[in-house]
């Protein structure tokens, strides 16, 4: 009997394990994530904002590409091994093909969040602001992508889930711009201070819909001005619409995200500049420092320092000498390899610092100051300074934008200096100093376009928005830069004007990619010009 009981028990325990498949839906539900039923689309806004600024910073491209191309930064690294060769000398590093696809991947991710936020708020009158912010942020992201790569997927983009489009066609940049401008117009106009405000805004706006409206129109102004070479009429139309709608009016309107490294939202520029090799190897370009020194720009002592003497000290973050007269920019295009392009062969080479094993041949060149070595530093999207400088150009071109070119220029110069304060107290320049400088260096009508666009270049460069410096240089031709022509470079001795498409586009979206490449006059390379970048 005992035995029977034992067996019975065994079998009963065994059978108790059995179940039916009715609970399979429960088993196959991820307990860690939410369904759309309970998800709040407001949560996507900060993800859009951070991903977008992250696509425009650090190793995601700009600090390794544009920062050097437009001679804001310079570096003596060379050869295949170091990544700053991409920027300084247009020479590939072993991971160039990775770096060139990051802006694409990350900004499309940002745009994808924006698209989803739009989908989740469609036909929801209560969330009309979030819905339109979603559209504005899509324009912000997609504009950045098309400015970087040229023709890109736009009308069919982002729809793998909603419409099953996995092979989106590339649209012409001309069409993309026209659509973005009209989309911005509708979306910005639809923002309403009487509807619910966004609750999770990572911009300093904190959901203030008036500021979002200014952002929408300021973005419209910037995109309109991109077209001055290619489609002046459209540029004029939308620049004037933007002003009529109301653009930024003070540095308090600046659109930026304060990074938060502790939670995984680091400032990628700050991360790069606090990396050992980069601390030593990344210097301000001679072009930039010469520009700042020529007018005794008060930003010089805030942004630039010469490291303490000696190799070891050059590799540390210890604050250096910020005296403006001591600053010296590193000329682009030199290396440390002992040959004809060794830095010691550069004109007026100042010599190194330190001696013996502690000697460094680049010790006298200026580098970014401590305010930039901060993984929590702000990442800029669009500033009042840029807006005013673009208005100065618009006025110069005779657009109806109100005010005078000189007045806008002065506002832009002052604002550019004041925006640096967002890096913390170390970046503060008093309004008196800024105004005094601006008054001493007014806009000269005969030289207006050069002055304005050089100022945009320096202002965006010093705020480490290198993409913007580069795009505006492509558009305006200012500052006039002498390209580096280093042996083995990938752009035929020319400053790159676009990034090639991510290499996997050729296999992931073959027909669309091939068609897009066939429209590029020079092929899918670094020097082909995008639509608005006319000769």
């Amino acid at each position: 009997m005992m035995r029977k009981k034992l067996i019975a028990l065994t079998l009963l325990i065994g059978s108790a394990q059995l179940s039916c498949t009715d609970n399979f839906d429960a088993i196959n539900t991820d307990p860690t994530r939410a369904s759309s039923a309970i998800f709040d689309p407001n949560l996507l806004l900060p993800s859009i904002q951070y991903n977008h600024v992250n696509a425009n910073s650090g190793y995601n491209g700009p600090i390794l590409f544009q920062a050097g191309w437009i001679q804001i930064l310079a570096s003596t690294t060379s050869g295949a091994a170091n990544y700053y060769s991409n920027a300084d000398k247009y020479v590939i590093s072993s991971n160039t093909n990775d770096y060139l696809q990051r802006t694409w991947s990350i900004d499309y991710t940002a745009a994808s969040y924006a698209y989803e936020m739009e989908q989740l708020t469609n036909n929801n009158a209560a969330l009309v602001n979030l819905n339109n912010i979603a559209k504005i942020m899509q324009v912000q992201c997609l504009a950045n992508i098309t400015d970087t790569y040229g023709d890109v997927p736009y009308t069919q983009a982002l729809q793998a889930k909603s419409n099953g489009v996995t092979l989106p066609a590339y649209d012409s940049q001309d069409a993309i711009y026209k659509n973005m401008l009209s989309r911005l117009e509708t979306a910005t106009a639809a923002l309403s201070s009487s509807a619910a405000l966004p609750t999770n805004d990572a911009f300093a706006y904190k959901g203030d819909i008036t500021k979002w409206k200014k952002f929408g129109y300021s973005l419209m102004l910037k995109l309109a001005m991109r077209l001055t070479k290619s489609d002046l009429a459209t540029a004029k139309t939308y620049a004037e619409k933007a002003v009529a709608g109301g653009v930024f009016t003070s540095v308090d309107d600046d659109a930026y995200v304060v990074a938060n490294n502790a939670n995984g939202y680091g400032n990628s520029n700050g991360q790069a500049l606090t990396t050992g090799a980069d601390i030593y190897q990344v210097r301000w370009s001679k072009t930039l420092i010469d520009y700042l020194k020529a007018t005794n720009d008060p930003r010089l002592s805030v942004v630039s320092e010469v490291p303490v003497d000696g190799l070891a000290a050059n590799q540390l973050v210890t604050a250096g000498n910020s005296t403006p007269s001591a600053q010296l920019g590193l000329p682009n295009g030199y290396d440390l390899n002992g040959g004809a392009t060794d830095i010691s062969k550069s004109p007026n080479y100042p010599g190194g610092t330190g001696s013996g094993a502690d000697a460094t041949p680049i010790g006298k060149y200026s580098r970014p100051t401590t305010i930039y070595r901060n993984r929590d530093a702000p990442l800029f999207v669009l500033t009042y300074a840029e807006t005013e400088l673009l208005l100065a150009e618009a006025a110069t071109r005779g657009f109806t934008v109100g005010g005078t070119a000189a007045g806008h220029y002065k506002n832009g110069v002052v604002a550019g200096m004041q925006s640096l304060a967002k890096y913390g107290t170390g970046g503060t320049i008093s309004s008196t100093t800024a105004s005094t400088y601006a008054d001493a260096n007014p806009l000269v009508a005969a030289n207006a376009l050069k002055q304005i666009n050089e100022q945009i270049w320096a202002t965006t460069g010093l705020l480490m928005n290198f993409m913007e410096s580069w795009n505006n240089w492509k558009r305006s031709g200012f500052p006039a830069l002498t390209p580096v022509n280093y042996t083995g470079n990938f752009s035929n001795g020319q400053i790159p004007r676009r990034q090639p498409y991510p290499t996997n586009e050729a296999t992931l979206n073959t027909a669309s990619y091939t068609s897009a490449v066939s429209k590029l006059s020079g092929g899918d390379n670094w020097t082909s010009r995008v639509y608005w970048d006319k000769q």
Binding site: T10, L18, N82, K161, T166, A277, L311
Partner: protein
């Protein structure tokens, strides 16, 4: 509904079992002795009751004891190499038999699906059994690797990932797009978890190891490989990659022995590079002249001719500018593996057990890295009544891996030294950190390439796995022809990982406002629990309907539950140096992962036999998968196969045995991950206090259904000249449909990948096994076996658009050379860029005279299309000598080493044009190029633009294994106390390549543990040559 019915059926089955326990008659006990033709007692001979699974083994004196239920029962006596003998019990209580030498295969019994033993001659599909004696003398720490070259159809490659690395096992080519590729591992009839715990990729990472690698080779009796789908149809989804059945060692009746086995082997690292040593460090043909210049060029050999002069280095000291060829030898150490296993076995009348304890101490070739594995194994079989028997298995493993190495192109990988400039002695990088500050000493231009000495002195990546594989099986024999069986298997492993980026790691320094926050970080302190529960019940019958017709059938059901949960914490940077605690960080983070899946299945199998020469088997299985949407959750898959021993019908001269077999089978499968069929949104960490949301960039698919795999197989087995020569051949064709796989999308779609259910691949193959005994005398026997596999894979469909599906890459050629599934080609296919050619076939160069990129071309598959092994065994007296040669043809390798060798001026090819420069090719338009490019620029551009130069041929023939053993004659031991038998063997594995095509690398080397990274190579641990000694002592 069907599932509910099935569950009820199991309940009913249980009730029947319970009710019928007492309804059968008492046992008769039969005893006796089994002898050979000369009257020698045969120990370990098998005695079974025909038509039942009841059996016993003879003891050391040839005696057996067995219970039968009736006088009509037939006892079957068998012993390897002897003819089977069948005797009806009748009125006898003592039955003695003398066996005559004969055909081993005629009565060979193999374990097949669900642990059912069947006579080999009745099986309609390909099965190969490998006995442990060939696996555990010259051993691999991962027993999976021991199967390399042993089994036709099976392709095995290890990973150069250091201690606890994965064995990549592929059955019959690439079994499917979807799978990780590894066959289902079944231990004593119950599936065990063989999940690969992470793999290195192009961004670095470590090989997390697999499940199979935890087993102690000393506990294994044999491994049976079920190759085809027919063989594995009864196991369902995961068996679509084939099945490996592991039978552990057990106690035998009448046996009492204590056995000690010691195995000591050394791992000697091998440097396969064949670099140039004419030019040294530098760029542009110049030596470094400054500290920073030296640091910049530490991994660049574009300098001057090596002339022995004193040249400055990154540390400020002067060293000779002369060739340093021994960096691999100097940096790595000779690794060692020391295994001690003690086991006790005992068998009584009604049960037996075996207990073993084992310790493996493995010191990796990478200094400071290693593995200690303690294994405790218990198996017990007990007859509770004459009808009810119970089997138990408990296998406890405690495995501790110290400093599991980082691989591929990520920081903290210690294996980058082989790319140092030709004149740098790696030892000058030691100790890799500043003794005062603890900060890493950066030796090169890239501080993400960590100083290798810093890694070996500071890096922490400790993985501790505690795992219990347990199984209980009960069987009730209602009558001689009907039985029921219930089994529960539970495999539970806990992995604790402590992975630290050490304080002082250069790239990790963090500052704010010019103040040092700290450095390093706690990457992961985690605990992961992974369990697999299998509950299986079946009822089987086994009966002769008429004297000619037999039926062997079973019906059963199975529930499998897999659960995974991982909790980890981390943070950084560390505030205080050297304290690697979670509390010592500036910022914290945490992670939680969970995955639960369940499968419920019902199955049947019917085998009809006619006069023991014709067998027809059909199986059917219904599976329901929790990972699929409710509308498409279940699927029925059938199989049928037949075996005909035609030599029983027609006698052919010299042909002692001939069998023809054929089979058709369908198996089904599910997604590899849970939760892929719904849209989810997640909440991310807060950005400056603002909560954030996100969703996965992998697009789910709401309409998936089970994928299927069908296979048609025909085989032929022949034995000639009294089994002196044998042939076993199989041809098959397989096809998968509706495979569930990750498709890659352009990021512009809003998603970077998605789950699709459209994949289809085809495999056709031929497998041959030739065995022979060319010499067989009383003094010398020579056995030889050759196996050969030829398999051709073709991807028929990928995603809906038939886009290539990207797999892996290495960072050197990132995006410019990848592996992918390409429609119409064998997978995984290497795709790389060719030269651009002018119409006259000359290469096109740009205005700087540098080669430009042409078309992306398919370079070939990473999996071999022809492979196998040749094994020879010589037995002379107490000595035996065996060696295994294996071969591998038809695959390509995407080599980061080769790419870097071009970029960094290490490849011998880069000597061409060093002094003169290179003027080659034509410019666009066809005019001859007149621009001279420096060798450095030319080869750098070549490596970057023409990535096909990084694709190498994987062909090789390798002298895989040698064992030379000696059994101390029993006569010498009779007077020795305690000791009964001693075997000592000298062993060697991975000894040398007889031929290989790839220079600079080991064609078997890889960093990635799964199909995705198959055939991709670079910056992993060097391959090793392994040699040592195995000592086995059996005590009285």
């Amino acid at each position: 509904m069907l599932q509910r019915t099935f569950s009820r059926a199991l309940l009913v089955l249980g009730t029947i079992l319970f009710l019928t326990v007492s309804s059968f008659a008492a046992d008769l006990v039969i005893t006796g002795k089994v002898q050979d033709e000369k009257g020698n007692e045969l120990a370990g001979a098998t005695v079974t009751v025909k038509g039942t699974s009841k059996g016993a083994n003879t003891d050391a004196n040839g005696n057996y004891r067995i219970n039968v239920t009736s006088a009509e029962d037939v006892l079957v006596f068998s012993y390897i190499g002897y003819n089977k003998e069948e005797i009806i019990v009748g009125s006898k209580s003592v039955i003695n038999v003398k066996l005559t030498p004969g055909d081993a295969t005629l009565n060979e019994v193999v374990v097949t699906a669900l642990g059912v033993s069947r006579e080999a001659r009745t099986i309609g599909y390909a099965v190969t059994t490998v006995n442990a004696d060939v696996l555990n003398k010259a051993r691999e720490n991962n027993i999976g690797n021991s199967l390399a070259g042993r089994v036709a159809g099976l392709n095995v490659k290890g990973t150069n990932g250091g201690p606890g690395s994965t064995a990549k096992i592929l059955m019959r080519g690439m079994p499917s797009i979807n799978s990780a590729g590894s066959p289902l591992i079944v231990i004593n009839g119950v599936p065990m978890d063989n999940t690969q715990r992470g793999s290195a990729g192009e961004w670095g990472g470590a090989d997390g190891g697999d499940g199979l690698g935890n087993l102690n080779p000393d506990d294994i009796e044999n491994m049976t490989v079920l190759k085809g789908q027919s063989a594995s149809a009864l196991y369902g989804a995961r068996a679509s990659n084939g099945v490996i059945l592991i039978t552990t060692r057990k106690g035998k009746k009448g046996d009492f022995s204590i056995e000690y086995n010691a195995n000591l082997t050394a791992d000697s690292p091998i440097n396969f590079t064949d670099f140039q040593y004419e030019y040294g460090q530098g760029m542009g043909g110049l030596k470094p002249t400054t500290v920073v210049g030296a640091q910049q060029t530490a991994r660049m050999s574009w300098g001057a001719k090596l002339d022995g002069s004193q040249v400055i280095q990154f540390d400020g000291n002067q060293y000779a500018y002369s060739a340093q060829r021994n960096n691999v030898k100097n940096f790595y150490r000779t690794g060692s593996n020391f295994t001690n296993t003690v086991s006790v076995t005992k068998g009584g009348d009604n049960g037996s057990f075996r207990i073993s304890a084992s310790n493996l101490d493995n010191k990796s070739t990478l200094p400071n890295s290693g593995l200690v594995r303690k294994t405790f194994n218990v198996t017990a079989d007990q007859n509770i009544t004459s009808k009810l028997s119970v089997s138990l298995l408990a296998n406890y493993i405690d495995e501790r891996i110290t400093a599991k190495p980082q691989l591929s192109d990520g920081p903290l990988n210690a294996n980058n030294g082989y790319l140092l400039a030709t004149n740098i002695d790696e030892r000058i990088l030691a100790p890799g950190y500043n003794p005062t500050t603890g900060r890493e000493v950066v030796f090169s231009d890239d501080n993400y390439v960590t100083n290798p000495y810093f890694v070996i002195n500071k890096y922490i990546n400790d993985v501790n796995r505690k795992r219990l594989i347990s199984m209980i099986s009960t069987k009730y024999q209602f009558a001689s022809w009907i039985y029921a069986q219930a089994r529960v298997g539970y495999d539970n492993s806990n992995d604790r990982i402590n992975n630290v980026t050490p304080y002082g790691t250069d790239y990790s320094y963090q500052f704010k406002d010019g103040i040092l926050l700290g450095s390093g970080g706690l990457n992961e302190l985690s605990n992961a629990q992974r369990t697999e529960l299998n509950i299986d019940g079946l009822v089987g019958i086994n009966k002769a309907i008429t004297p000619a017709f037999t039926i062997d059938a079973l019906v059963g059901g199975n529930i499998r539950k897999n659960q995974y949960e991982k909790i980890s914490i981390g943070g950084g940077p560390f505030v205080l140096p050297g304290l690697y605690s979670f509390n010592n960080v500036v910022n914290f983070n945490r992670n939680y992962e969970v995955a639960n899946t369940e499968v419920q299945s019902g199955y049947y199998s019917v085998d009809l036999g006619y006069k023991n020469f014709l067998n027809l088997t059909t199986t059917g299985r219904y599976d329901t998968y929790s990972t699929l949407p409710s509308a498409n959750r279940g699927i029925f898959t059938p199989s049928v196969n037949a075996a005909l021993v035609f030599t029983d019908l027609v006698k052919v001269p010299n042909l002692s045995f001939g069998k023809l077999r054929a089979g058709y089978a369908v198996t089904s499968g599910e997604p590899t991950t849970a939760y892929g069929t719904s849209v989810y949104y997640g909440v991310g960490s807060a950005l400056n206090g603002i909560p954030t949301g996100n969703f996965n960039s992998n697009l789910p698919n709401l309409f998936l259904k089970p994928f299927t795999k069908t296979e048609l197989e025909v085989g032929l087995e022949l034995k000639f000249f009294g089994n002196r020569l044998g042939l076993d051949a199989a041809v098959y064709t397989q096809k998968t449909r509706n495979e569930i796989l990750p498709a890659n999308y352009s990021a512009s779609t809003g998603y970077t990948s998605g789950v699709v259910g459209t994949g289809s691949v085809q495999n056709t193959g031929l497998e041959l096994l030739l065995t022979g005994t060319p010499v067989k005398t009383s003094k010398l026997a020579w056995n030889v076996s050759l196996n050969l596999t030829s398999v051709h894979n073709k991807v028929l469909q990928t995603d809906a658009n038939n886009n290539p599906i990207s797999l892996g890459s290495n960072r050197a050629t990132l995006g410019n050379a990848i592996t992918a599934f390409v429609v119409g080609e064998a997978g995984p296919q290497i795709r790389a860029y060719d030269y651009k050619y002018a119409s006259n076939g000359q290469i096109i160069v740009d205005a700087s005279g540098l080669p430009v990129r042409g078309d992306l071309i398919n370079m070939g598959t990473v999996l071999p299309t022809l492979y196998g092994g040749l094994n020879n065994e010589f037995i002379f007296g107490g000595f035996n000598l065996s060696f295994l040669i294996d071969y591998n043809y038809g695959n390509k390798i995407l080599s980061a080493t080769e790419n870097y060798a071009y970029r960094r001026g290490l490849a011998k090819e880069t000597l061409v044009g060093r002094e003169t420069g290179i003027t080659t090719g034509v410019v666009e338009g066809g005019a001859a190029n007149t621009v001279r490019a420096s060798a450095q620029d030319y080869y750098t551009a070549l490596a970057n633009n023409v990535t096909k130069v990084s694709v190498l041929d994987g062909d090789f023939i390798k002298f895989r294994q040698l064992t030379f053993g000696y059994n101390v004659p029993a006569a010498l031991l009779t007077k020795v106390p305690l000791i009964r038998a001693v075997n000592i063997s000298l062993v060697g594995r991975n000894l040398f390549y007889i031929t290989k095509k790839a220079t600079n690398i080991d064609p078997e080397s890889s960093f990635g543990a799964n199909l995705r990274y198959s055939g991709i190579e670079g910056a992993s641990l060097p391959s090793v040559r392994n040699y040592g000694v195995n000592l086995n002592i059996k005590f009285k």
